[in-house]
C-alpha cells in the first residue's frame, strides 16, 4: 500500500462534495446576497442598492421578531446545554452508553415537526395537561393563558429543549468515552471535591472541545427553525425564519428581495451567535481557571444537579406525552374539553383515502431511501479514501462536513431553488433529494466516522497480508464488521431526511408531499385526528429505521457474539 492508493477515490469524493454540497450552498448564498442588494434580473431588478434592506426594516414587528429569534435560540441552547451537562453528571454512572442510546432514540427519531404538533396539544390551555388538572382546579373553561404560541416564545424554547437535550446527551455520552472519566472522577473526589464540582472543574473543560461543533449545530438550528417556530412559536410577530418563509411565499413577487435581505440577516444572526459563543468560551476559560485555582471544594453543586436531573426527566415526560397524544388523537373521534381521554374512538382517520397518507408515506420512503443511500455511499467512500491514504482528517474537511448544519437553511435554500429552476429540476424528486442530502450527509458522516476509525486496523492488515486487495478488504471485511454502525448511520440518515421541511417545501415546489410537509400543513387545520395520523407515521418511520438498525445485525450475526450485541 502506498500513499497513491485511494487518490482517485479521494479526488472523486472531493469533486462530488465540492460540486454537490459546497457548490449549491455557495451558489445559493450568492443568489440570496445578490437579491438582498436588489439584483434579481428575472424580476427586472438590476440596480444594486439598499432598497430591500429598507423595505425589510419597515416590516411591522421586524425588530421584535429579531429579538425573539435571538432570545429563543440562545435560551433554548443554553438551557439545553446546562440541563444535559447536569443530567450527564448524575446519570452517566448509572446506565451504560448503549442503554442510554436506546432510551434516547425515540426522542432523537421523532422529527421536530411531529414533536411540536404533539407538544402544542399537550401544553395548550385546553391541552392534555390542563384537562388532567381541570377537575382538581375546578376549571369550567380552559384558562385564558398564553402558553402555546406565547409572545415570549416559552413554548418554542421548551419544544426545542425536548428535542435538543437528548441530542446533546447522546453527543456528550459519546464524548465521555474518549476521556479517562473514571480515573479523573476518582482523582478529583480523593482530593475532596464533590461530584458536581469535579464535573465542572475537570470533566466539562475536557468534554467541551469534543462537543463544541454539535452545540453550534444546535444553536444554528434553534435560531433558524421554521417548522417548530410555526407550530409553537409566537404568532404576532413570529420568529425571523417563519416571517421570512411567509415573505418568500408572498403573492407580491417583489417581496423576494426584502425576504432575501432577511435571509442574509438570519445568516448574520447565527454568525453573531457563534461569535457570542466564542466570547463566552474565552470568558469562561479565564473565570474558570481563576475558580479552579481557588481550590473551593464546597459541595453546593449537588442540589443543582438534582434540579437539572428532575427537569430533564420532566422534559422526557412531556415529550413522551406529546408522542402518545399523537397516536391517541389519530385513533379518536370526539375528544372535547375537559375529557382526559377521547369520548369515542374511530379508525376513520387511518382509513380515509382523502387523507392520502399512503402517497405521502411513499414519497417519504423514496426520499429517505435515496438520500440515505447517496449519503452513506459518499461517507464510506470518504472514510475509505482516508484509510487508503492513511491520513487523518484535516480541520477544513471537518468544517466542510458541518457546514450545511451551521448555515441557516433559509439563507441559501431559496437562492438554490432559483438555480434549480434554471437547471429545470425544481419541483421534482431529484431537486428534493439533492437538497435533503445536503443535510443528511453530514449526520451520516458524523455518525459513521468514530466507529469507522475505531475499527481494529489489524483486521485490514491481516486481510492484506492474506492477499486481499483494497476492494475485497472493504467489502469482505470492513463493511460486514461495521454493519451495526453503518445501519445506525442509515437510521439517522432516514430520521434526518424524514424531518426535512424547508428543503422539501422549497425544492419540491409543494408537489413532493411528504409526511412532514403534510403534517406541518395539517397542523394549521382543524382536524387533530388526521394530523395525528401523519405525525404518528412521521415519528414512527425513523423509529422503525432505528429498530431495523438494531435488529438486522442481531439477526445476520446471530452466531457471532462479538458483533451481535455491539453497542448501538
Amino acid at each position: 500500500m502506498t500513499a497513491r492508493d485511494g487518490r482517485g477515490l479521494r479526488i472523486a469524493v472531493l469533486a462530488v462534495l465540492a460540486l454537490g454540497l459546497l457548490g449549491p450552498i455557495a451558489a445559493g448564498l450568492g443568489q440570496t446576497a445578490r437579491a438582498a442588494f436588489g439584483v434579481m434580473p428575472e424580476l427586472g431588478a438590476v440596480d444594486p442598492g439598499l432598497g430591500p434592506w429598507r423595505e425589510l426594516s419597515s416590516i411591522p414587528g421586524l425588530w421584535t421578531s429579531v429579538k425573539l429569534t435571538l432570545w429563543t435560540g440562545l435560551a433554548a441552547t443554553l438551557l439545553s446545554l446546562m440541563l444535559a451537562v447536569g443530567f450527564c453528571a448524575v446519570a452517566h454512572e448509572r446506565m451504560s452508553n448503549s442503554a442510554a442510546a436506546r432510551w434516547l432514540t425515540p426522542f432523537l427519531a421523532a422529527p421536530h415537526a411531529a414533536m411540536a404538533i404533539g407538544l402544542a396539544f399537550v401544553l395548550a390551555p385546553s391541552g392534555w395537561i390542563a384537562r388532567l388538572l381541570a377537575p382538581l382546579m375546578g376549571w369550567g373553561n380552559p384558562p385564558d393563558l398564553a402558553i402555546v404560541n406565547d409572545p415570549w416564545g416559552i413554548a418554542l424554547i421548551l419544544g426545542l429543549m425536548v428535542k435538543e437535550v437528548p441530542f446533546l446527551l447522546l453527543v456528550m455520552l459519546s464524548a465521555l468515552t474518549q476521556i479517562p472519566l473514571r480515573q479523573n472522577m476518582a482523582a478529583g473526589r480523593m482530593l475532596g471535591y464533590g461530584r458536581g464540582l469535579v464535573w465542572m472543574k475537570i470533566i466539562a473543560p475536557q468534554v467541551w472541545p469534543l462537543i463544541r461543533l454539535p452545540v453550534m449545530v444546535v444553536l444554528a438550528y434553534a435560531l433558524s427553525t421554521v417548522d417548530m417556530g410555526l407550530i409553537l412559536g409566537p404568532s404576532n410577530p413570529p420568529v425571523l425564519a417563519v416571517l421570512l418563509t411567509r415573505l418568500f411565499s408572498d403573492p407580491d413577487i417583489a417581496r423576494i428581495l426584502p425576504a432575501s435581505a432577511g435571509a442574509l440577516m438570519q445568516g448574520l444572526l447565527v454568525a453573531a451567535a457563534f461569535a457570542l459563543l466564542w466570547l463566552a468560551e474565552l470568558a469562561t476559560r479565564r473565570l474558570g481557571l481563576w475558580w479552579v485555582r481557588g481550590g473551593g471544594r464546597g459541595s453546593s453543586a449537588e442540589p443543582l444537579l438534582r434540579a437539572a436531573t428532575a427537569l430533564v426527566m420532566a422534559l422526557f415526560a412531556i415529550g413522551t406525552l406529546a408522542m402518545l397524544s399523537l397516536v391517541i388523537w389519530s385513533l379518536a373521534w370526539r375528544w372535547p374539553w375537559p375529557a382526559a381521554l377521547p369520548q369515542s374512538w374511530s379508525l376513520k382517520a387511518w382509513g380515509s383515502p382523502g387523507a392520502g397518507w399512503a402517497h405521502a408515506l411513499g414519497n417519504t420512503l423514496l426520499l429517505a431511501g435515496a438520500t440515505t443511500a447517496i449519503s452513506l455511499t459518499l461517507a464510506i467512500a470518504w472514510l475509505e479514501g482516508e484509510d487508503r491514504a492513511r491520513r487523518g482528517r484535516a480541520a477544513w474537511a471537518e468544517a466542510l462536513i458541518y457546514l450545511p448544519l451551521l448555515v441557516p437553511q433559509i439563507a441559501f435554500l431559496y437562492g438554490l431553488n432559483i438555480l434549480f429552476l434554471r437547471l429545470g429540476i425544481s419541483g421534482g424528486h431529484v431537486a428534493v433529494i439533492w437538497a435533503q442530502a445536503l443535510f443528511v450527509f453530514p449526520y451520516v458522516m458524523i455518525t459513521l466516522s468514530d466507529p469507522w476509525r475505531a475499527l481494529d486496523p489489524r483486521l485490514t492488515r491481516a486481510a492484506a497480508s492474506l492477499g486481499a486487495g483494497p476492494w475485497r478488504r472493504l467489502f469482505a471485511v470492513k463493511l460486514p464488521v461495521l454493519a451495526m454502525p453503518i445501519l445506525t448511520a442509515a437510521a439517522i440518515g432516514t430520521a434526518v431526511s424524514v424531518a426535512q421541511y424547508l428543503p422539501t417545501l422549497f425544492m419540491g415546489a409543494g408537489r413532493v408531499a411528504t409526511l412532514t410537509t403534510e403534517a406541518v400543513t395539517l397542523s394549521s387545520g382543524s382536524d387533530r385526528r388526521v394530523t395525528g395520523v401523519y405525525a404518528s407515521l412521521q415519528a414512527g418511520l425513523p423509529l422503525a429505521a432505528y429498530a431495523a438498525a438494531f435488529l438486522i445485525p442481531a439477526l445476520v450475526h446471530r452466531d457471532r457474539t462479538v458483533l451481535k450485541g455491539a453497542s448501538a
Partner: protein, 217 residues
C-alpha cells in the same frame, strides 16, 4: 525462495533512520529473529517488509523475494504473510470461513476449497469446527486457526510479530513447536520480531539485535 533485505532503513521525514541499515538473507524454512528494546522500530521493520508502512515513513534499501524487488508492490500483491500477537480472526466470519478467506485463489471449486479448509482445520487440531464462532475458541485454538489461515494463502515469506507473547507459558511451547514445524515443512523464509529470548532460541536461526541508530549515516 529466500527473503533478502539489503541496506534497509526506515526514517521519518527530516529525522535520522530508526535503526542502522539492515542487510539480511533468510533461506527457505529458516526463521530469523529480530530483537531489541521497545521503540527501536521492530514493528516498523515488519510493516516495511509487509508493505503496510504509513506514508509518513521513508523507506530506503531493497527487499527481494527470490531475487525480485517487491518494494514497489502493494501489500496484497507481495505474498507475504503476517501474524500478530493476537489471532485477529475476522469476527463476522466463522472459523472455517476465516480460513477460506485466506485460502489461495489457485485452489478452485467449492468442494475442493471446503475440503482443503477442513483438512487444514484437522491439521490445526480443530476438526469439525468449520461453523464455529471465532469468539468461542480458546486462545491456543485461535492462534492455530490464524496460522492456518496465513499458511493457506500460500505465502512466499512469513512475518511474525511477537506471535506467542499473549499466550500462557504452557501453551507457548506447544504453539512454537506447531508454528516452526509448519514453517520448516513448507520451507517458508520467516522473519520474527520478539522480546522473548526463548522464542529466539527455539528457532535455531540467526538472531539480529536492533539498536538505535547513533549516527545519521
Amino acid at each position: 525462495m529466500s527473503l533478502c533485505l539489503t541496506d534497509l532503513t526506515v526514517r521519518l521525514k527530516k529525522t535520522p533512520p530508526l535503526f542502522p541499515a539492515l542487510t539480511l538473507c533468510i533461506e527457505p524454512g529458516e526463521v530469523a529473529t529480530v530483537m531489541g528494546p521497545s521503540g527501536v522500530g521492530k514493528s516498523t521493520l515488519l510493516d516495511a517488509v509487509a508493505g503496510l508502512l504509513s506514508p509518513t515513513f521513508i523507506l530506503s534499501g531493497q527487499i527481494t523475494l527470490n531475487g525480485v524487488d517487491i518494494s514497489p508492490l502493494p501489500a496484497e500483491a507481495r505474498r507475504i504473510g503476517l501474524m500478530f500477537q493476537d489471532a485477529v480472526l475476522f469476527p463476522h466470519l466463522s472459523v472455517g470461513d476465516n480460513l477460506a478467506f485466506g485460502l489461495s485463489r489457485t485452489v478452485k471449486g467449492r468442494r475442493v476449497r471446503r475440503d482443503t479448509v477442513q483438512e487444514a482445520l484437522t491439521d490445526a487440531g480443530l476438526p469439525g469446527m468449520y461453523d464455529r464462532d471465532p469468539a468461542s475458541l480458546s486462545g491456543g485454538q485461535k492462534s492455530r486457526a490464524a496460522l492456518m489461515r496465513t499458511l493457506l494463502a500460500d505465502p512466499a515469506a512469513l512475518l511474525l510479530d511477537e506471535p506467542f507473547s499473549k499466550l500462557d507459558a504452557g501453551l507457548r511451547d506447544e504453539m512454537r513447536g506447531f508454528t516452526f514445524t509448519h514453517i520448516r515443512k513448507r520451507e517458508i523464509p520467516t522473519l520474527m520480531v520478539t522480546h522473548d529470548p526463548e522464542d529466539a532460541e527455539a528457532t535455531n536461526g540467526p538472531i539480529i539485535t536492533l539498536s538505535k541508530a547513533e549516527t545519521s549515516r
